[in-house]
């Protein structure tokens, strides 16, 4: 099922080099069916994920972001994912105040051998983001200028830009 509901969404995945990237590879080698909405960015460790990477992805139009690293106790660098877990949890709870649904962001742990688990995670997460639909874009242009030229008020400009 490559394209859900006939439309792909933009989902960004930050995957740890040592576990989850391997896990995704294992899933691919085993030819497990996966949704194709996810675009993977390989990082050295989930501890390398600055929550601002995720924020930036949303600002630039991602509809969902998934972070996946090694299971706790399995980190290649011993403790990277423990620090990541705290940061990512704080960030997940923070984004609600920005008006971003918390379901648009998840973090999880998948090891290199867990191809099956990767398939499950990526499928469930993609379904979850599809349930919310695309995220309204965050405008790059000054809304007030847009409103002036179009002769509309600011509220309308926001909705229209969206």
């Amino acid at each position: 099922m490559p394209v859900l509901n006939g439309r792909e969404l933009r989902i960004v995945g930050f995957l740890c080099n040592w576990c989850s990237y391997g896990g995704a590879d294992t899933a691919g080698v085993a030819r497990f069916d996966q949704p194709t909405d996810l675009r993977i960015i390989r990082v050295p460790c989930s501890g390398r994920i600055d929550p601002l990477f995720i924020a930036k992805a949303f600002m630039n139009g991602a509809d969902g972001v998934l972070v996946s690293g090694c299971h706790p106790r399995d980190c290649h660098y011993s403790e990277g994912n423990y620090y990541a877990r705290r940061r990512l949890e704080v960030f997940k709870q923070f984004i609600t105040v920005l008006g971003i649904e918390p379901e648009r962001f998840e973090y999880t742990w998948v090891s290199a051998s867990e191809g099956q688990r990767w398939q499950e995670v990526v499928t469930k997460f993609t379904d979850q983001v599809h349930a919310l639909g695309p995220m309204a874009p965050i405008p790059e242009v000054a809304l007030s200028k847009l409103a002036q030229t179009e002769g509309t008020d600011l509220r309308t400009a926001i909705t229209e830009e969206a």
Partner: protein, 317 residues
């Protein structure tokens, strides 16, 4: 009275110090301005009361190698403690003067209550009120009605750390932060919250006063907002870059922000940026039972972990 006692205490300590920071009357009687006291005569200009809005702790990191005194309100003292905890200043080089605080004014509220406040000729402050005389009129306002929001929920009106504390300790307004503002904001749907920020951020003029007034924004010339490599935010005037900047400021404050409110007070566009930081403060409080700026020896929660986290419920897929 208390102010005289405070002045005496500062004068006694002054010979050992390069200078002491406090507040004095600024360009008009309504606006206080920072005061640098080098000589006993300077100390006589010190004022204390609801107009002392600035958090002077913002200057401490740059003065690290001087021996300075600082007069603090309760909330300011938490910034000092946070700076100590992060090893950005040295305890032996700072002398803290504290006094009980009754709250400070919010200039935006004053401007709303007194439209001609820009022409204030004189201001008299009493314990619970303030009388502003302008060219046209005299207005008496109760402090409660023009007080900064942070003061209505103040938990630490007395300095949490002080070398010299003058006056009777005041009883805090509340014991725990009610976070009612946040709750009411989040009672709206996600789309409404986003629209709210889009409209607010559209008004932002990117002056970065919110950053410069923040005592814990210490990267200064190395702020990621100004870095070209990597280029986190562009020079465009759309909401995207401005929103991103606020997210950067908030995230860089996670577990550190004491909710002193300087970012919001300094904003010339009245953008409620403190709300973002209060959200983080609330999350960190709930997850790690931690409040910034109370204990200089504490381990910041984001620089620590537990093998099994008690309060983090991960998704079970």
């Amino acid at each position: 009275m208390m102010l005289d006692q405070l002045k005496e205490t500062i004068k006694t300590a002054l010979p050992e110090l390069d200078f002491v920071m406090g507040w004095t009357t600024g360009y008009d009687p309504l606006h206080a301005t920072p005061l640098y006291m080098y000589e006993p005569d300077d100390v006589d200009q010190l004022i204390w009361g609801p107009l002392n809005v600035h958090n002077l702790a913002v200057h401490l990191p740059a003065l690290r190698h001087k021996k300075v005194g600082i007069v603090v309100k309760g909330c300011d003292s938490r910034s000092v403690v946070e700076l100590l905890q992060e090893n950005l200043i040295d305890r032996e080089n700072v002398v803290i003067f504290g006094a009980p605080c009754n709250g400070v004014v919010d200039m935006t509220k004053i401007r709303k209550a007194v439209p001609d406040a820009h022409f204030a000729r004189s201001v008299e402050t009493a314990d619970n009120s303030l009388t502003i005389t302008t060219d046209k009129d005299t207005h008496t306002l109760s402090l409660a009605e023009v007080m900064a929001d942070k003061c209505t929920r103040c938990r630490f009106p007395n300095a949490v750390e002080a070398d010299h504390f003058v006056g009777e300790k005041r009883i805090p307004a509340v014991e725990t932060d009610p976070y009612a503002d946040l709750e009411s904001f989040e009672s709206q749907g996600f789309a409404e919250r986003r629209d709210f920020w889009m409209a607010e951020m559209d008004r932002c003029i990117r002056c970065y006063a919110c950053r410069n007034a923040c005592p814990l924004c210490v990267c200064r010339d190395h702020c990621v907002a100004q870095s070209r490599e990597p280029h986190w935010v562009s020079q465009r005037d759309g909401v995207r870059d401005k929103f991103m900047f606020q997210v950067i400021h908030a995230i860089h404050m996670a577990g550190r922000c004491t909710e002193c409110g300087e970012c919001e007070r300094a904003c010339p566009m009245d953008i409620p940026v403190l709300l973002l930081k209060r959200k983080l403060g609330n999350v960190i409080h709930d997850l790690f039972d931690y409040d910034a700026g109370l204990d200089a020896e504490a381990r910041p929660p984001l620089l620590a972990f537990k093998l099994e986290e008690d309060s983090i419920k991960e998704k079970d897929w």
